[in-house]
Amino acid sequence: MNDRLRGHVDVLLLSALQAGPAHGYRLAEIVRERSGGSFDLPEGTVYPSLYRLERRRFVASRWMTVDGRRRRVYRLTAGGTAELERQRSEWREFTRAMEAVVT
């Protein structure tokens, strides 16, 4: 399961950020919790994805003090929201086509 996820970490993080700004550790938690533990990626893989999403202007980040510690907090941009909707649409079409063939 986790091997198949590696190509979809970006959309998982964009989805997690829809709930509100969060730092990397919290985002990894959100993905794990929402999937009921099925999606348990190496936690370090969220940061290359976050940097790529930030480079593409889909997320923005800044240092903030959270629980007394300096943390890099990420938020979804308008471009990121649009990209998330585009990927969701693409995923729905992909799963529809797969189900039509394999079931």
Binding site: G7, H8, D10, H23, G24, P42, P48, R72, E90
Partner: protein, 175 residues
């Protein structure tokens, strides 16, 4: 592995630009993860070992981080060169010398095939089945049109068969 040992090894593998931020975020993440394991009853040693294990193999994390940080380093160098050119045009005429040898060996991110990829394979399948992996190569070894951003593959299909170790280039995909 302790958090300090993990971060020391990670630091050795990362490019200079963006490294401090990446290490700082990793440290805070690992501290949170270790705290979670301690709350579950683990000793300090076991909590740090579990946290670094959950974070992922340091060489794999370093490889993925390096690919992203290398893109940022290349862009900053390009932006600096443009800035210098603009300033020179406004004030005086200057000449910018580039160290050709250093430029040729600069680490450059690319995607390489990890297995044989048949012609007509959709980009989404490539991502879902991990049929490629990011890496960095000396600039002199990077092919024209080499792809570094996996998002390029979305909505595209391979035009030819690709072999393991082959760099993915724009020419290998249908537009």
């Amino acid at each position: 592995m302790t958090i300090d040992a993990y971060l020391a090894e990670l630091e050795r593998s990362l490019p200079r630009v963006g490294r401090n931020r990446a290490l700082r975020e990793a440290r805070e993440h690992l501290r949170d993860a270790a705290a979670r394991h301690r709350e579950a009853g683990a000793s300090d040693h076991d909590a740090e070992a579990a946290a670094t294990n959950d974070f992922g193999p340091v060489d794999e994390v370093a490889l993925r981080l390096s690919a992203e940080l290398a893109v940022r380093q290349t862009r900053i160098a390009s932006a600096a060169a443009v800035g210098v050119s603009v300033a020179a045009a406004v004030i005086i005429a200057t000449v910018v010398y580039v160290d050709a040898e250093e430029s040729r060996s600069a680490p450059t991110p690319v995607l390489i095939a990890t297995r044989t990829i048949e012609a007509g394979t959709p980009g989404m399948i490539l991502a879902g089945r991990e049929m490629y992996a990011p890496t960095t190569l000396p600039k002199s070894e990077v092919l024209d049109g080499a792809i570094s951003d996996p998002s390029f593959l979305r909505g595209r299909t391979t035009a030819i068969e690709l072999l393991p170790g082959q760099q993915l280039t724009v020419a290998d995909f249908h537009p």
